[in-house]
Amino acid sequence: MPGAIYAEGLVKTFGDVTALDGVDLDVPEGTVLGLLGPNGAGKTTAVRVLTTLIRPDRGKAVVAGIDVLKKPNEVRHAIGLSGQFAAVDEYLTGRENLSMVGRLYQMSSREAKARAGELLERFHLADAADRPAKTYSGGMRRRLDLAAALVVSPPVMFMDEPTTGLDPRNRQALWEVIQELVAGGTTLLLTTQYLEEADHLAHDICVIDHGKVIARGTSDQLKARTGGERVELVVHERQHIPLAVEVMRPFGKGGFTVEEHTRKVIVPVSGGARLLAEVIRELDTRGIEIDDIGLRRPTLDDVFISLTGHVAEAGEETLEQEGAGK
């Protein structure tokens, strides 16, 4: 039985550009799929096909059990979309925006108003509810846009880069909302350039580049593909580097990397935290002073680089890369 979002062999070209080149997706009900890829990888096109906004040249798409190509209007009853740009009317107030969307979902005027009030409260926009959206900050507009996608509670949600351009605090807040939605049983397809975001929110991840899915699996599976753990060690004095390498060699799985300027030695290992304790003891015995040592697992950044050969291009912000994988 196909999942709540199912796509098979989606192809879409725009002139010479192949935006989708045979994309297959299958998202089980109640789970989150993170569609991960750089700008221009085809993420947005995939979302637009699945939300009935464009027709693919080839392929099949089923959302909430409804054929997207045959019954687009029925699909629209079952989905919510929060696009890449905060799609709100900037001359309307927050309240007017939401009640307009409610009425277009065929609610009565009173129902739509009540729901708008509830959403404004929930998304901390109550104080700004009667100001034109023009006066809102970027984070507020995003929240209003997301609220608009939640005017009804559709079983399937699509969010196209929901946190692009948000500051870390707003991003965190949005993550909480998303997690709450999913806990309530919503199936979600989320596109992101932030590897950390996919790691945090998604049950399954599809890495997409040049219109093709180049890897899929859970965050852990993808990380495992990239290689295992490694010990990263920073010695206090540069002349201790050769000695440190000598100490670590027996613990390693072969091969090591030295970064002279940062006084860092990286050795791939297997054996976890126990091994780390032994390394530290041994270094101590040999009198090597260390500034930092840690057991690192690969991040999705590493996964991405190893898969595509290039770094995921971030939006306006730089990625807040976390040293230790989760």
Partner: protein
Amino acid sequence: MTAAGGTLSRRPVPRARGGAVQSVRDSLVVAQRNLIRMMRIPEVVIFGLIQPIMFVVLFSYVFGGSIAVGGSTDPDTYRQFLMAGIFAQTVTFATAGAGAGIADDMHKGLIDRFRSLPMARGAVLTGRTLADLVQTALTLVVLAIVAVIVGWRIHEGLLKALAGFALLLLLGYAFSWIGALIGLSVRTPEAATSGGLIWLFPLTFISNAFVPADNMPTVLRTIAEWNPFSATVQAARELFGNLPAGYPVPSAWPMQHPVWASLIWSLLIITAFRALSVRKYRSATA
């Protein structure tokens, strides 16, 4: 964000009503949205008024006296003759408004939002054109007042005059559908504005709006007589009683039956451009 509001209640998706009722309702919701916008950006309405008022004043006082209408160069005769032309030209400017508005909605991603909602197909465009119709009506009211101030009068009674205004509004509504198609076809709101305006100048000048067509070279005269725009101008002039005595009515069918011609042209334009626009809307991509 979890603190204050607590958990959001789940709200099932209401069933679609479908059919004409939903179409009308959705269109009115969108029209209301566009009217709220217009009230919040009054500059647009005000600038939209300045040009026709300038035309009324400039044409009346600069050209009046030099242009012979029905054999008379009396400035007042020209002023009576001119007004229907300026009214008609003004209503066609709705094209640019509709075009720019829809292009802007595409640009900002609003069309994507609307298209992902279970709403009636043509409602976003119908709502926009209805709102433009309201704006056009307001503009016409102000313009008529200015026209009366400079000496324009109706001579066939209020009912016929209202029928004349109704034909003008219908023409404006028809042209806003042309604007809708332009707005959906261009990439930026700026392109929609100029794309909505440029062709209006030849269209409104190769017509009977500002000068009688009978002095034009044959080719232009034929175009002018069959120009949809001329039919409405001629119809309005008849209904306002602004055709000067001795004004030769051309033998072309639309000039002989201007009210019918105006109706037919406007309804044809609405039917054709509505169909084209709705089709375009369904495949529109920002």
